[in-house]
Subunit: 675 residues, 2 copies
């Protein structure tokens, strides 16, 4: 199957000689790598050279020459004393003409080359350019929910390129994928679905070792560690044991032998991701053990090989009764894991979703962030747009992620610590954390279904590497790289659409943090009561008076899982951020928001606005016909923006009608609300 | 797989000599069949003899002897002048000792034997017994929605016993099935799903002729004609033509050749059932033709072989927009078919669902009944309990069917004509009609999943044969046959549960004829807004003021599809039968019903009552422990009554909460309604 190079197109620049000179692009014509002989051992060496030479040639039409006579204009320098892993510097200030990329290892140099090529591809001048880049997070990971039959759970971009027909695929796209995600700093990838069933259970057996090793070696050439999702019940399903009890000596021994076997067969393996006791998956609860027991048992088994166990905190009662207003799914992650703080081994990392529910368009930050003090943590976000338009709608998520990363948790002793601080190495001692996204790729030609969804893949990597980046700058960089050769107006318009897209989606879907209101199972499109009486704990409790869930101390008490002053902020209607008002409080329709509008009028207004935004995106795009360099991408985007505009109208009408049918309040502006 | 004999158990009676004598059972000890040599040619002859001999022996412990010396005490007489097809008489009044069964053919005798055995099995005396039975309907049909992969669309009793793995099954269960349904008078069976796809399209090719013929011959031994559902696009899918246009000479010729081939291969075939232009199935609309064009084309092709075309009227727009309050799915059958009245050939029968929607627990009678004046018609009901508890809930449907059959249509010139009159031969000239049920069987041991669901299979056959029967009598007869050997109290309790079951289901589910409120797709369990914004045209329009669909002349105008005075009766709130009030009118919650209760209080009350009824059924059954002869059946029923009681509570709570959330009205009796 054909596929694009996404943001790695390296389209030939049309520059005058003078422009090339002024921007110091001439300095890319010859390069040297001191101590090359030793560096050639590095798995990334080949990628470094080919990326640099091919990239420069594609962009500038001249192939760089490697020299050893001291005449180089660009130098790649490995200096073990340079700094932390994956850090690098790009420096063109030394003599006003020549440049240097310096890192502590070849992987750092490769990141530097990707960075350098981004600068050139977006026309930035290298003159006087000097920057040192230190990754914010040790782990910058993607989770693929790919099944071995080739399907992808919550996949909106075609089939898997890792698996088909219960086989592992290793082909040219494997390398293209590794290159693509390495270019934005991803250094760890889980290739299989967290729900490990059927053939996927056998990924840790010799049925698949050869292919998994081959895959891991290609990943390794781009500095990426391959991880696998693990079936906690493997001792039973593979080993024929009668239990998976993490404290049972037989089970412990089985895992120890199994891990020795796996790491010998696949030495580049980074470790394992585990979803246990969640949504029907097996786990330690079956045996009266807790999650620390489960995670530590596995962690001990992988420790001799430098392996990590990444343990998901998405544990909740998925057999709730809608009549039960005491049980609160939002509480469950904290309730389950907070008591275990300090009990996890150093090579265990808890993977915590950004919010307490499940990747809704708006959620409060998960209270485990700032709660846990002695546990390695990873932030889990989802760029697969499961609840944000499924890559039919444009919804650029970096502004959301940025808000999450910047959220102040008020962790005792680290009062200024944001989520970004906690998951990085900056706050917790011996931290071994990072950030992970549920990936949005598939074997669609353009990788992500919606071409604009690639901005989330690109953006996630960039933000994971540097959590201080500005979402709009990331969007612009992505647009300039992806749509190189388009007009300036087109790039501006794309950035404008991207930056307006999350707010628009939020406006025309479920209001003020209440979430859900989607069709069950597939989660696409509006269905206000779709989950209201279901077993998943996702209720909005709308009636003739108002809507919202009381999660204060008078309700489920969820607010008290936060550190002060956050707890009090959420507890009180007056101080609760209004975008989360209905998440924390039951609010009457006639309640006045800070804008002076009633809640019901706010709902109507935002839904009309959001649908109008979607219509605007489509109009904007139509007006760009002829201004986008990639005609096929233009048509693909056009098709999806049409779908979005129609779907937004459906959302608007269903939500407005739903509330109108409950309260009977007319729209102040007399717009059409269907009866 | 094992299977029961359902109501054909013929459990040995424990009778004294005197009782046998008094009831004239002694007269069953010897029998004669005059002109036997000629009658042996009849396909039903073997079934007649074996049923009689085995039945009497099982019931009375003595095997009847066939005599030819004039000493017989029971005589089977075929008299071609006796009367209409399938009619028979049983007469024990001639000399106070001997009996005779008389019919115009052997099939009539077989029906007579089944009748006689029912009398004996239920302990009725034959002394002075004399009855002539003339079937109400020429066609008494079952439609099986069995797919060739073995699944059953809307099947709740296991897998198909006609098909598995794309093969036709012919085995001992085939005969057991034929005997079972023939015993209650069924004389036509469609074995495959009306949605004809994949392998089923090939049932009219030599891939399956041998097995289909074998099946049809077994059916024939029990007087049953085998029918097939047809794919209207067969000329394209099988014939390689580029169209299925019913007026195209090539298509016509293809069908003529195909039908010649089919009827030569399967001479016992009765004809075909066609679902065209419905829910995605192909049909004449594709070519700008109408349903008369389509049906007549096929009818001409099968006419030389005595075949019939049964054409479904379930044609509607299944891509409706919920915002559109003008389009009314209820109107569509009439709108599509009424203009075609008189255009269908004599061997075409229109198959019309009992109501204008789709087998809801309560619907008005379809307005095509009484509308059509010059068209053969069959009434289609569904004993597969798709919308009435899916054979997890007990819902005995004969009271509903009886109401439908007794509905006066006010057809011009036949003002007293009920639906029963129209589908029989009594009203329409050259009528070729009858009644058909979507079947509720599968390969479950007890045939119907819920043992009590067999009462619907039994009852449907009995009612189809004699539309004047009383539902309670049918229920009692079924219970006495099925649970022979149980206590009198147990039989009474079963009859009581059956007779209360449809009203109970109606009470705890969707109120006053509005219908739906079920989970989409599978249709089990409550989901008030499950279809409210979907494309199927099944809306209830509930809001803070009230609920219901205005189908009067001020609304969709559906009421005017009825003949007067029915049209006016439905048009006005005051005269509209209250059980259908919300089907025809939007009614405010504070509207006072004839009981003096408000609508909302009626909703609350009926839902509490209905759930209580379901709880009562369970309690009643628990108290019968030890009183039911068939212990396994007892346990199966117990299990399902528990499920029903739980599900009824869920229905009660969701419906009550839904309305409470809309109107905020408290229950007058202070019962628990969840917020």
């Amino acid at each position: 199957m054909e596929y694009t190079e996404a943001w790695l197109k390296y389209r030939r620049l049309s520059l005058s000689r003078q422009q090339c000179e002024e921007r110091l692009y001439d300095s890319l014509i010859s390069y040297a790598i001191p101590f090359e002989e030793g560096l050639k051992e590095s798995p990334c060496f080949g990628a470094l050279i080919s990326e640099f030479e091919n990239g420069v040639e594609a962009l500038l039409g001249m192939r760089p020459q490697r020299v050893t006579d001291g005449s180089e204009t660009l130098r790649f320098a490995v200096d073990p004393a340079f700094g932390s892993e994956d850090a690098y510097s790009i420096d063109f200030t030394q003599n006003g003409k020549n440049g240097a990329i310096t890192a502590s290892d070849v992987r750092g140099l490769l990141y530097g080359v990707f960075h350098l090529l981004r600068l050139v591809a977006t026309g930035k001048s290298l003159a006087d350019f000097s920057q040192t880049c230190v990754p914010s997070n040790p782990l910058r990971m993607l989770n693929h929910w790919d099944n071995m039959d080739g399907s992808i759970e919550r996949g909106y971009s075609g089939r898997s390129f890792f698996f088909a027909d219960d086989q592992v695929l290793v082909n040219d796209r494997t390398r293209a994928y590794a290159r693509l995600v390495a270019s934005v700093g991803i250094n760890a990838v889980v290739i299989n679905n967290v729900n490990v069933k059927n053939a996927a259970t056998y990924l840790i057996t010799d049925r698949y070792f050869d292919k998994v090793r081959a895959l891991s070696e290609i990943f390794d050439e781009y500095g990426i560690a391959l991880y696998l999702s693990l079936n906690f019940a493997a001792p039973m399903e593979l080993g024929g044991l009668d239990k998976s009890d993490p404290l049972d000596p037989g089970v412990i021994e089985w895992w120890q032998k199994k891990m020795a076997e796996v790491f010998i067969a696949v030495p580049k393996l980074g470790g394992f991701l585990v979803k246990a006791d969640s949504e029907g998956r097996p786990g330690p609860f079956t045996y009266g053990r807790d999650h620390a027991d489960g995670a530590n048992m596995l962690a001990r088994a992988v420790a001799p090989y430098g392996g990590r166990i990444i343990w998901r905190c998405f544990v909740y009662n998925c057999r709730q009764d809608w009549r039960d207003t005491k049980t609160d799914r939002a509480r469950s992650g904290y309730d389950n894991f907070m008591p275990l703080d300090g009990r996890f081994l150093d090579n265990v990392i808890l993977q915590i979703k950004n919010g307490p529910m499940d990747f809704q368009v708006r959620e409060p930050v998960h209270p485990l962030f700032g709660g846990l003090m002695k546990t390695n943590q990873m932030l889990e976000v989802q760029i697969a747009q499961e609840y944000t338009g499924q890559q039919k709608h444009v919804c650029y998520l970096m502004p959301m992620f940025k808000e999450i990363l910047d959220f102040k948790t008020y962790m005792p002793g680290h009062e200024d610590a944001t989520v970004a601080d906690i998951i990085s190495t900056r706050t917790l001692k011996n931290a071994n954390g990072g950030i992970v996204a549920v990936a949005n790729t598939g074997n669609d030609e353009n990788w992500t279904g919606h071409d604009f969804a690639a901005a989330n893949l690109f953006g996630f990597g960039r933000l994971a590497f540097d959590t201080t980046l500005d979402p709009e700058s990331i969007a612009r960089e992505w647009a300039e790289l992806t749509f190189a050769g388009s007009t300036k107006a087109a790039i501006d318009a794309i950035v404008n659409i991207l930056m307006r897209s999350w707010p628009a989606y939020e406006k025309y879907t479920s209001p003020l943090g209440i979430g859900w209101m989607v069709n069950p199972n597939h989660h696409y499109g509006p269905n206000v009561e779709g989950y209201e009486f279901d077993r998943w704990g996702t209720y909005h409790r709308a009636n003739w008076r108002g809507i919202g869930v009381d999660r204060t101390t008078k309700g489920t008490g969820y607010t008290m899982q936060y550190r002060e002053p956050n707890a009090s902020m959420y507890e009180h209607v007056e101080t609760c951020p209004e975008e989360l008002l209905l998440f924390f409080h039951f609010i009457p329709y006639d309640y006045r928001l800070k804008t002076g509008k009633t809640l019901i009028q706010h709902i109507y207004d935002t839904h009309f606005e959001g649908a109008q935004d979607a219509a605007d995106f489509l109009d904007t795009w139509k007006n760009l016909d002829g201004q986008i360099s990639d005609k096929e991408a233009y048509e693909r985007v056009l098709e999806r923006l049409k779908i979005q505009a129609e779907s937004a109208v459906e959302w608007r009408d269903r939500i407005n009608t739903y509330f109108y049918r409950h309260c009977g309040t007319e729209d102040e502006h007399g717009r059409k609300i269907y009866e």
